[in-house]
């Protein structure tokens, strides 16, 4: 088997005396879709935010292609990177938020070209052409010049996905991407994510959408109390959970499946 794209070793995170992540190990291979599910407060969002160091892990190391995130070898010792050194690593890991966080003073197109132009120095014309292509891909070609407030939640989230893709990341992180959406808008965002998955994008998705997890994920992780309780093939975990906590959670979110 090839080396994993992303590897997490002994990850712990505490806020004060409260331990949110109590030792996480996992691997994500290139082209895989990993879904993380679990009750609220189980630490799944914190885990995702530790991967790109939006939260600094208290303990443990995250490797992207064998390179430690946020840490730098200096002789025999590992040092914490500065914010701007970390920025270079973060380019390779896109993130899509529950609250979209589009730039409100920029149009959809400007949102998408911002980082390629400013961070990578891509020429504006090139970036525009690529952005229009990405907008087409998420089904919003006709919304290029709209401001975020003129778009629906689902459209905003699809622009946010396009914005992440514009940096050509090796890995996309999704933090409950459909949780802030009206029910009728969830489908369009999930469809976009499904399409990305079939195109071979490596994705780590924290979600409450069990059907999406079942159909799209290559690997499902169930978290509770800051640890991975159960993991494996999503159909196995969802239909034949071995752990009592998984069963209790699933019976709450999938009343008819049980």
């Amino acid at each position: 088997m090839t080396a994993p794209l992303l590897k997490v070793e002994g990850l712990r995170k505490s806020f004060g005396t409260h331990e949110v992540l109590a030792g996480i190990d996992l691997e994500v291979h290139e082209g895989d879709v990993m879904c993380i599910v679990g009750p609220s407060g189980s630490g799944k969002s914190t885990l995702l935010r530790c991967l790109n160091h939006l939260e600094k892990p208290t303990e443990g190391v995250i490797f992207l292609r064998g390179e430690p995130i946020g840490l730098r070898w200096k002789g025999e010792r590992l040092y914490e990177m500065t914010f701007n050194e970390l920025a270079r690593q973060r380019q390779k890991m896109g993130m899509v938020f529950q609250g979209f966080h589009l730039f409100p003073h920029k149009t959809a197109l400007e949102n998408i070209i911002e980082a390629p132009v400013i961070v990578k120095g891509v020429r504006v014309e090139t970036a525009r052409a690529e952005a229009l292509e990405l907008l087409g891909k998420v089904g919003l070609s006709d919304r290029a010049d709209y401001y975020p407030r003129q778009l629906s939640g689902g459209q905003q989230q699809r622009v946010a996905i396009a914005r992440s893709l514009a940096m050509k990341p090796e890995l996309l992180l999704f933090d409950e991407p459909t949780s802030a959406l009206d029910p009728e808008l969830v489908g369009e965002v999930l469809a976009t994510m499904r399409q990305l998955a079939t195109e071979g994008m490596t994705m780590v998705v924290v979600t409450h959408e069990m059907l999406f997890a079942r159909d799209v994920a290559d690997h499902l992780i169930f978290m509770d109390g800051g640890v991975i309780v159960e993991q494996g093939n999503p159909r196995d975990v969802l239909t034949r959970p071995r752990n009592e906590r998984t069963r209790a959670f699933l019976s709450r979110v999938l009343p008819d499946a049980a």
């Binding site: 920025a87 938020f97 966080h101 409100p104 400013i118 961070v119």
Partner: protein
């Protein structure tokens, strides 16, 4: 209430001491009009320079460096604490404190030396005093504005690989400036009135020009009325501009700052900028 007002208006209109014909005679007098230009110039420069310094102060105040935080705090403490009138007189008399100003290596050779008296004119003293006062207020407003930009914006920038400087310049400051436009408008009106203080430096603004004339003609009240009318005209215009800008900001269909500026001023530099951006 209406009766009181009508009585008051009538007594002003018919008061012989105001000498309305004299008011009319001097309202568009060349000296008064050039004074008006000076008042507007001082207001614009003081606000722009004050804002520029204020941005730097706000960023220093919010930085993680204790030295920057302290320096910014001290500047704001000083310039918000000293009355602008005292500052104007102080800056004008700077030569008594520091006779010459030089650029060079500290304790080493001097590269360039100026006599302070050559640098400090009534105009530069006025700009220093007014802009520094404004900078202290602008800094506090901008700090609040920057803090009002949601942390999600900063996180989104981080995940796109933007550096701190890029995030601040491209995403946070443009949003913070929009937030502080209404209070800055308010400050501009205050600043317009503060500029009348420069008459103590014999700088010919509207008020000093009026004073010069009535010193000659002894028509004190009519010329003060002329100055009053011009101040009211300018503050009224500024209030209208402020309301227009605010309405734009609050309406559902907000346009970008650049669009707004272009519409307000409709001048060439903005068009040029747009072409460059495309």
């Amino acid at each position: 209430m209406m009766v009181c007002f009508a009585f008051f208006a009538q007594s002003i209109a018919t008061n012989q001491n105001i000498q309305w014909p004299v008011v009319a005679q001097y309202l568009f007098h060349p000296d008064i009009l050039s004074g008006l230009g000076m008042t507007i110039l001082l207001t614009v420069l003081a606000i722009l320079i004050g804002l520029a310094i204020g941005v730097i102060l706000a960023i220093m105040r919010l930085s993680s460096s204790r030295v920057f935080q302290g320096a910014s705090w001290a500047w704001i403490w000083f310039f918000r604490g000293v009355p602008p009138l005292v500052q104007l007189i102080f800056w004008y008399n700077l030569a008594l404190l520091i006779p010459e100003i030089s650029i060079g290596i500290p304790f080493g050779p001097k590269l360039a030396v100026w006599d302070t008296n050559d640098l400090i004119t009534p105009f530069s003293a006025a700009i220093l005093g007014l802009a520094f006062t404004e900078s202290a207020y602008a800094a506090e407003m901008l700090r609040a504005g920057i803090q009002a930009v949601s942390s999600g914006q900063v996180e989104a920038c981080a995940t796109l690989g933007m550096t701190r400087g890029q995030t601040l310049r491209r995403i946070v400051l443009p949003q913070a400036l929009r937030i502080v436009i209404p209070p800055i408008g308010n400050d501009t009106i205050s600043m317009l009135k503060f500029t009348s203080l420069v008459s103590v430096l014999a700088l010919p603004d509207v008020l000093y020009s009026a004073q010069m004339i009535y010193a000659r003609t002894y028509q004190t009240i009519p010329l003060l009325v002329v100055a009053t009318i011009w101040y009211l005209v300018l503050t009224t215009l500024l209030t209208f501009a402020e309301h227009a800008v605010e309405k734009r900001l609050h309406s559902g269909n907000r346009t970008s700052l650049r669009d707004m500026a272009r519409r307000l001023f409709a001048i060439a530099p903005f068009r040029h900028q747009k072409e460059l951006a495309q």
